[in-house]
Each structure stands twice: as structure tokens, then as C-alpha cells.
Amino acid sequence: MFSPRATLRLISPLSQLSHHIHTSPTLSATFWESGPKFGYESFDPEKEPSMKEKFQMYKGGIHDIKKGVKMWKEECKETFLMDPELSIQPNQIDVVWKFDETTLDNWVVTRDKDHGEGFSDANLQVSTLGHGVFSGELNTNVPQDGMLKKSGYVNMRSKRYRKSFEREACYEWPMRTHLVIRCRGDGRSYMVNLHTPGEFDLSWADTYSYILFTRGGPYWQVTRIPFSKFFLSSKGRVQDKQEPIPIEKVSSIALSLVDKNNGPFQLELDYIGIEYDPSHQEEFAYEMYLMENEVRGIVHW
């Protein structure tokens, strides 16, 4: 029948008139965001689920409650015993993400092919030794749809850290200064992204990034990246207004490859951990002096 909008038009000729008053094209790009996935949702959130799907959801919910109670018990114990963390050993690596058969489900691999925006391929598998191998093929060909300018990325991201009963939470890394990655790459440079989403839609895409350089070859490498070197970017754009990474707000980590070289890639991962190095005094590696108009690099504006 009639949509609410159509009835409104019939009732009010004024509203109808207002459609013709525009003197310039309406602004298509606004700051408003539809959701934390920025329009890349894999399902339609407004679609009504069928009865069968609803039943499945209720069933899953009850199962989640059971799981949640168990997790909550553990959390209570941990808080009682370990909070606050009193003894942080210097130069001791605490493994946060270990890559083996059981933990690979915690990672989500995305590529430009998923949304018809490119032709790259990637997957995360178990290696012969039981580590994780992020491999595939990068392809920078742009689909000829008239909209896309560039393409060619692959990305693996850990699922958001959640406490019991699916509560969204952040990692607690008090005093830690370094991110430690043990990997075996292929000579390409990867991007390490630490996601620190904020409350409002402008800060949902806040990401602190740094480069993971790999040597290539048959040898493993242990890379220590100081947290002070991570710089803020949002939706792939480095921001003018920089600040040190809020370590208590990290919710997930991602490794991505966007180096624009067509061809196969391979990154074998053992673990990603954190470390406290008392000799590391640097707070932020980038200049923090005040700049007029907040344009990076301009001193006298």
C-alpha cells in the first residue's frame, strides 16, 4: 500500500514543494555513519528474521548464557588474584595472541574481493608446524565499475575482545612498552593496526598503525615495535592531530598488506605479545608541538 512518506506528500503540499527548492545538489558525503562497519555489513540489519532463525537465535542465546557464567566465574577469580597486576617482569613477553589450530577461529580474514572491490585472495591456515600462515595473492587490478579508483588489500583481524555475556571490553596492558611479533615473512612490509574505537561515529575507525618489516628467507624473526611509534589514522588516512596510543583502549589487532605489488605473499605467525622494557623512555615518536590549524608539518602558518 502507501508508504508513510507517500501519505505525507498527499497531506502536505508544502513538503512536496520543498523538494523543488534545492538550488544546489545535496551533500552526499556526510559524517554520519550507519554502523561500526561503515556500510560493509555482511547482513541486512533491518531484515526481519524468520521463525526458524529466531528459534536458532534463542537457542544460541541460552547456550551463550551457560558459557558466560563459566567465563564470569573465571573472571571473578582472576580479578581477585591478579588485579592489579603487581609483578610485571621486565623484558618478559606476555603472549596475547598465539597462533595454532585452536585459535585461528579468532581471526577474521578480509580481502577486497569480498565486496566486489578487487581480485585479491587471502586465507589463514595452519602450517605444518602448527603455526598460522597468512597467505594468498595480492592483486591491484581495479574492477571497472566507474567508482573505484584503487584496490588491492588483504587483512586479518582479531575478533573484538569480549568479556563474559558478550560485553565489549578492551585489553589491559599496564606499563607495557612494546608489541612483540614472532613471524617469518617474505620480505614484504605489512601494517600492524591496533584498533581503539571510541564512543561516537567519528572515532569508530580510530586505528593506530605501524609497519612490520619482514626480512624474508627461511629464518624466523622477532620484531619489537614500541607503542610510542604507532601513529593515528582513520579510514586509511593519517591524521594531523596526533596523540600517543591509549593502551588501555585497544580492542583488537589487525595485520594488513597493501603494498601494491601484484603477486603471492606469505606471512607465518607464531605469536603476538606484549613486553615491558624499563629502558624505553620515549612517550611518542612524533613531534607534539602546537601547530596552528593542526596541519602536520606547518610551524608558521
Binding site: G187, I211, G263, V295, I298
Partner: protein
Amino acid sequence: MLKVLKCVRNSSMRTKCPAQLVLEGTKYCTSLKQSIALNLTSLHVPCTRKFCSTNDKQLMNYIPRNFNELDQKNKDTFMQVIDTFKEITRQKTGHVEFIDSALKYMKDFGVHKDLEVYKELINVMPKGKLVPENFIQSEFMHYPKQQMCIVNLLEQMEENGVIPDWETQTILINIFGERGYPVRKYYRMMYWMPKFRNASPWNLPNTVPSDTFLLAKIAIERIMSVDTRAKVTVYNSKDIPDAIDQTWIVSGISEAQRGLIATHPKEKSIYVEGGFRIWLRDQSIVYYILRSDPGPEDQYQQEDPDDLRNLIDPFLIPDLFELKKKERSVHEQEDGIILAVAATGTSSQDSLLSWVRALEKDGNPRLGEVPILFTMKSPLGKTEGNEELESAQPSYKQRVGGDGNRTSEEIDSNDKKTIS
């Protein structure tokens, strides 16, 4: 200008250009041939601006928009197109369209990493005309199409790793004023790009050579940077008897690895595995490794030197150092002991055989006594196609090296099929 004049004098194709194109003070480059004038009618974007004179209109129809038509694609012809454009338009209009199309074809001409060309392209824009004169113009992006065009150009520079210089700043400020968006973009580039220019611990030249031999040398040196005592040697398969392929072999081996080969047990086999791929900026190369299975875990030292619970008084135990187990070197990994790394000119099985023979001659006599197996499969990861090794299926491992009298039973000790 002299160059252009010379072009005109030497012209043989000039007569083919339509007569109305040649105005006063307009010069044509002959190396562009008639490509500027011909075959472009369907591709050009005609000038629709009211204030253009008829002469300008005619000229706009002949601006070289299709760089594909040029016979020679190199820096000289690209620069000549830019020069010609400047001459034709006399800085009136069509800059955005010209730069947009030029950006698309830069890679085809091999100039996408050339700062000089980028600067020349920015220089096409008229000076002074686009500078905002009051605060309203300044606030609302004066001449937005022109500004976005140059921002796109700067972004392409950024993608190709071209860092601008001070002259670029002067040109940009002359065109867009001090607060233009391209100028801001330039400042950001000048802040961030030099920071990451040399951030890699394994530094590479700005343009990696496309020659495979030089590439192989850089790659093997980079891999062997794990061990400071490693040496990269270049062997020639001419020097090795019975070698079929005449090619080069870049091999990397360290003192520690020589020691590991010397102490390798005779009954355990060594594998030649590959090829694996290593990337050096936009180039990549395939390398091979010499690997043996890892030893048992308990032969290595597992003690934590910082553990204070069981202190030993070194004065009471005179042979303390003998008691200690072997410390794991960087080459002894959990997935195998890496004994050497190499890249060859042909990546063929014969060249790899020559490599093993060269290593044997070069102070590793143990390699002649140990069975050596060529394999495609490796616990280290995905290997890439070497058709020769694949065709050796079903027994994908082939025995080479060593003395020919060794019986196959000895080699089969590792439960692996071999061909003697």
C-alpha cells in the same frame, strides 16, 4: 625552447599538421609526429567555455589527450608532450583534463617515480590566477577542480614513494597561494614521508635493480643478515665438472653453518628445498635452501640463566663448561637446520646440483658423503613451481651427490624414496 625550435627545423612531418594549428609563436615537436593531430578526434574533450577565442577552440581540439598514440614511450617524449601542451594552450584552459590524462599514462612511460616529471606537470598550471584574493575564496576552496587535480597528483607521488622537494613547494605556493589544499597536502607529505623513508632495518636502494643477478645478490645478502659471519659467494657453474647449465649461483653460508655441515651425521640426508619467494620492494626472486631435519630437543640447552633457584658454584665444578649442553644457533630452528641459501640463474635442478658441488669443493667435504635429496615439499611453507622437480614425480626426491656406489637401502633409512 631551443630544443623545440630545433625540432621544428628538422621537421619532416610538419607539413602533415593541419595548417590552422600553427599560430604565431606556436612550435611543434616533430618526435610526436602527427599523433597530436591525427586519430584524436573521437577522444578529445572540446572546449566549451564561452570566453575562448576561436583560435583557442581550434587548438583545444588538438591537445594530445591520448598518450597511447605515441610510438616511443619514454621520459623525453613525455616531457615533449608537456612542453607542447604549454605552447598550445598558452596557459588558458584545459590543464585539469591534461594532467588527469597524463597521470594515467605515467607508468606506461616509466616516469611514475620521477620527481622532475611531476614538477613539470604541476608547472603546467597557471601562476597567480588560482590564488585566492579574499577570505571567502580562501575558505571555500577556490578553483576546486584545479586543487583536487593537483591533490590527486600529489597522492600518486605518495603512492610511488616520490618525496617532493623545496622547488615543488615554491611552485605550489605560486599557483594556489599559501593555504591551498595542495600546499597543505605537500606539508603533510614532507612531514611523514621522510620519517618512513629509511625505517626498514633491511634497507634497499630506492629503485631495486630488475637484473636477476643483482637482485639475487641483494636477496641472499638480506637473508643472511641473520648471521654477521655469513659470506655471500658467487659461483659459476662453468667451473664445476659435468654441469649442463651455464649460469651463476649466488650462495650464502656462514661459519656456523659450515660447522653444522661438518658435524652432520653421515646416515641422515640433507634436503635441497625450494623455491621460496622473497620480495624486494616491487621485485621478487626465488631462492633455495639446504636443510636438514632438526636434532632432538634435549641436546640443546634449556636452562634459564636468570633462574636463581639452582645456583652452581663454578669453583666447585671445574668442568662446568663441558657439562653444559649445546646452545642453539640461529640456524637451528624448530623446523629444520638451515645449512645454506642460494639463488641460481636458471633455478633448474642441474644448477642446484652445481651449487651443492661448489659448496662441497669450497670446504664442505661432508656434502659428498651425505645423501642429498631434491624436494619440492618443505615444512617451511609453500614452495613455488619448478617444473623440472615436479616432473621427477612420483618419487619427487632425487638423489644426487655422494658416491655412486651407495646402496639405496642406506638412503631409504629415512623412509624416503630415491633414485640413484
